[in-house]
Symmetry: C2
């Protein structure tokens, strides 16, 4: 049973890169045993990535590991939580040792960076896919929810949404970019998104709501609107587009990717007027731009897209696996 | 977007059958927010079930839901933990409303029975598979681990292992059973295993180690041996075989299924001599047989199979997804 399931798991995933004090028993028993620190609320999220749907079939295993972890950590960032533990359920078509080595090396490098520990998992045979379960902490009562926005609150995004969709278009040869520096950077924004963990934590007492941009700004802001019972005015002229994106495609395409491209894993959040000054202090040192892109209004307004002071209609859709069925 | 991912999840899975007090925020935000009760350790496990590998492609959705949940709850049972929360990552080839209705009805019926709450999940498009993340509590320091067995401890199993493998053989038409009552019962043991949650909890202060029987007694007891640094003597004559199993196949085949058939989701546990009396009192009222099948020895013995007082050699393997590669 040298290549059996158990030795396979042992060899690649049973390494303790960081031994967290809150992990009483990690991998190797029927369950992991964990101690949640006092006065902390546990935040849990789970996401599946399927080959050919959530990542290109030829994507490098090191990039897949980075992306899978980032997608999940981003959900913690959107709650203002601090990452702690990971479970990994990995479905593999066969035992490819070089794939496993590259994937697990990359995963443990990222886990080490975030001071996280792999506490359990499962390896099964089947079409390549993985489900990550992510666990983090947030002090009691201080989590960022989708439901706290109020009319008048200002709407912000971190970073430059749209880059990831452009990067994907380059990988799929739907977009040709002459400037290699721009092209590489856009592709890296797609392959290795950076979850905004520090922003989420800094926003705990300042933002009235938050969400991460997985499906596109319009779709994700829509979730805040629904949960908070508000409408919103989104200023297209204020969308923070990266220089690389603007130099690589038309303004219209760039805006569409920023609004509905998806997979940016930036944060969208709302801030009451009274906290706007404190916001600049709280996240100003984190080295990532943050931009006010609109304002919350009453529910009856719905989501209004504004350009040069006038409402505009755009045909845009967030990413939805079953939308075409 | 009437059939979109979000409305699909909403319709079938966003029902709160039980609203647990330890769930601050359930489905509907980036993460669930949860409060672990004081003096409780969190127990977490995750298991993936892939169609055609972990369940037959034509298995009824209600049975799949039961089995997927039982497989995961069984890991909590083996730790002596009390079930609390579930995450469900479901990968579906298409939107089949009757499948979804039957699957989710069955899932919520089971969740209600165990007083569990679905706290989050993900729905993706792809070959039918699901990854469940299960979370439960066990009082600090009282979890049953694999590593606590000592030479001289007695080895027990609950119920009658081997039934599930016979039930699978019937479903796959590898086994013909004339007696319809026996056949139905063996099939139900395969399709709807009953995790031994109450046994696990009752064993907290009595058993020195425990594991659930997912891969077969020999393979799973092997994990206890490895974690505890012991050997064991297993008495084949003492294997608790059900009347239905004995009536349906040869004694040799029945023993092989009991030892290596897998998917029984019974518990195997070890009890020091001093606790044997208390054991009968602790689990005697639970209505399931428990049987002493051997004794722990020193590591150098390995795992010895005994029949009529003599060691025997059998060619047996536990279930292993990649063992044939």
């Amino acid at each position: 049973m040298a290549c059996g399931e158990f030795s396979l798991i042992d060899r690649y995933f049973n390494r303790v890169s960081s031994s967290r004090r809150d992990v009483e028993t990690g991998i190797g028993d029927d369950c992991a045993l964990l101690v949640v620190p006092e006065r902390q609320t546990l935040a849990i999220s789970t996401d599946t990535l399927v080959s050919g749907i959530h990542f290109l079939p030829n994507m490098a295993p090191a990039d897949i590991a980075c992306k899978a972890l980032a997608v999940n950590i981003s959900d913690l960032a959107a709650m203002g939580a601090d990452p702690a533990w990971l479970t990994l359920a990995l479905t593999l078509p066969n035992v490819d040792e070089s794939w496993l080595a590259a994937f697990s090396d990359s995963l443990f490098e990222q886990l080490s960076y975030y001071d996280m520990q792999l506490i359990g998992g499962d390896t099964t045979k089947g079409p390549l896919a993985m489900t990550l379960g992510i666990h983090g902490f947030v002090p009691h009562g201080r989590a960022l929810k989708r439901s706290g926005a109020r009319p008048g609150d200002w709407i912000y995004v971190t970073g430059t949404p749209g880059d990831s969709a452009a990067g994907l278009a380059i990988l799929q040869k739907r977009l040709q970019v002459e400037d290699k520096v721009h092209a590489d950077w856009l592709v890296s924004r797609h392959l290795r998104p950076k979850p905004r963990i520090l922003h989420g934590q800094a926003l705990r007492d300042l933002a009235s709501s938050a969400i991460d941009l997985s499906d596109g700004l319009i779709s994700d802001l829509g979730h805040i609107l629904k949960a908070s019972g508000c409408g919103a005015r989104l200023e297209l002229d204020n969308l923070p587009l990266s220089d690389a994106l603007k130099a690589s495609t038309s303004m219209e395409q760039a805006q569409e990717w920023a609004l509905a491209g998806g997979e940016d894993y930036e944060l969208c959040f709302t801030v009451p007027e009274v906290n706007r000054g404190a916001l600049d202090v709280a996240i100003g040192h984190l080295g990532i731009p943050w931009t006010c892109v609109g304002q919350m209004t009453v529910a009856s307004d719905g989501l209004m897209l504004m350009q040069q002071g006038k409402p505009v209609q755009l045909e845009l859709h967030g990413y939805d696996h079953f939308a075409t069925i």
